[in-house]
Symmetry: C2
Subunit: 230 residues, 2 copies
């Protein structure tokens, strides 16, 4: 593996584990057993590393969040998007953690992230519209779609941060990754009141499998794998 890619991989890992703020370029180099000079040969500065990681992240999301405009959506589509989104968030979890600071330090990143946000909001709206056309959600106005999409975005991008702050151990990765998917429950909660009768039973049954158990946050929870075949 090329040194450049090794640096990105190690940075991502360390950022995720310890937070961008606590990981210096010297740490990254030391972790890889290379010299700081070598690291700075491949990247102009720390912000450059972070920006490259953002490009990876954006590429990942772009790859799976392609809403088909030529056929009706299914419940499976919807669940695939949700699972993929939360996987991506987990993989690049350092990013939303220190987002505001990162954006103030790098104008290029700020610009691109902003575009990325609106792109994602557009895709979420497309999903909502698709589900409506498929008869899964009851019809409502563009304005409602917009407001709902925004709430979905807020819940999705901040669910992990909530887990970190709300779990007793400060959000050790082990517990957090297990509880991460419970964010799906929260997203489905947003859309539940709009479900058509034809789909209500099925979707609520799926949703039930992701239900968070907040009372368990004190100790270790033993969540079973959700079953999609309902």
């Amino acid at each position: 593996m090329k040194t450049r890619d090794r640096i990105l991989k190690a940075s991502l890992q360390l950022f995720n584990e310890q937070g961008e703020r606590n990981v210096t370029t010297n740490h990254i180099a030391a972790h890889l057993g290379i010299s700081p000079g070598n690291l700075y040969y491949h990247f102009r500065n720390k912000a450059d590393i972070i920006y490259s990681l953002f490009l990876q992240y954006r590429g990942l999301v772009d790859r799976y969040l392609k809403v088909p405009r030529n056929r009706t959506l299914t419940v499976e589509d919807k669940m695939f998007y949700l699972e993929s989104v939360f996987d991506g968030l987990w993989h690049y979890r350092f990013f939303h953690r220190d987002l505001e600071y990162l954006l103030t330090m790098d104008e290029r990143l700020r610009h691109d992230y902003r575009e990325f946000t609106f792109h994602c909001l557009g895709e979420i709206r497309a999903v909502l519209k698709g589900l409506q056309e498929a008869g899964i959600l009851r019809p409502h106005s563009e304005q409602e779609h917009e407001a709902m999409a925004l709430n979905v975005w807020l819940v999705v991008t901040n669910w992990m941060a909530f887990l970190k702050t709300a779990s007793a151990d400060g959000g050790s990765d082990g517990n957090t990754q297990r509880e991460l998917k419970q964010g799906i429950y929260q997203v489905l909660t947003l859309e539940m009141p709009y479900l058509t009768e034809a789909y209500y039973e099925r979707v609520t049954a799926i949703r039930e499998q992701y239900r968070p158990d907040l009372s368990v946050m004190e100790g270790g929870s033993r969540a079973e794998e959700p079953d999609l075949s309902v």
Copy 2:
């Protein structure tokens, strides 16, 4: 005003304006025209200042978020809570910005913030229950209340961060404060489908007054793009 209080006031201001990460204890002292030694006479360290600000914040929230259990709630109650909550968030906006880092650095804060979160979630549930008993919201289960309260919390505590990342100028305070209350629109969006017919018209009319104008924010980015029309 006592030096201790002046330190807290200046810290809050600087943290809010520049982010906790960009404000050092030396900055705070210099801003007040006092010596670092003086600052450290009043506070053991930076985390101590932050913790004191958290106590102020918690006190503020505790003061207004007292849901009366002996009478039915009104729409006015609900709107008062929302306005107050967003005011409080604005006043201590640095806090949720760097929350995760702050919690990892100060165990006492982590513990107390966690308690604070669950306390607030409880009060939100109490509001939902109160509105239901008042016939404003259609009845639904405790479980649904719990999930909804969590979504309300997520939207409320992260709306400001969203504004910062989504606004073209990186969230200058002027624009942000104006748009802040539009978070109320998003919260009301969550509860809208549960409104009873008797209150639907009235609440949606109130909600409409807080509607965010995202097209303005999106327009900002287009303006920066090169104009290809010759």
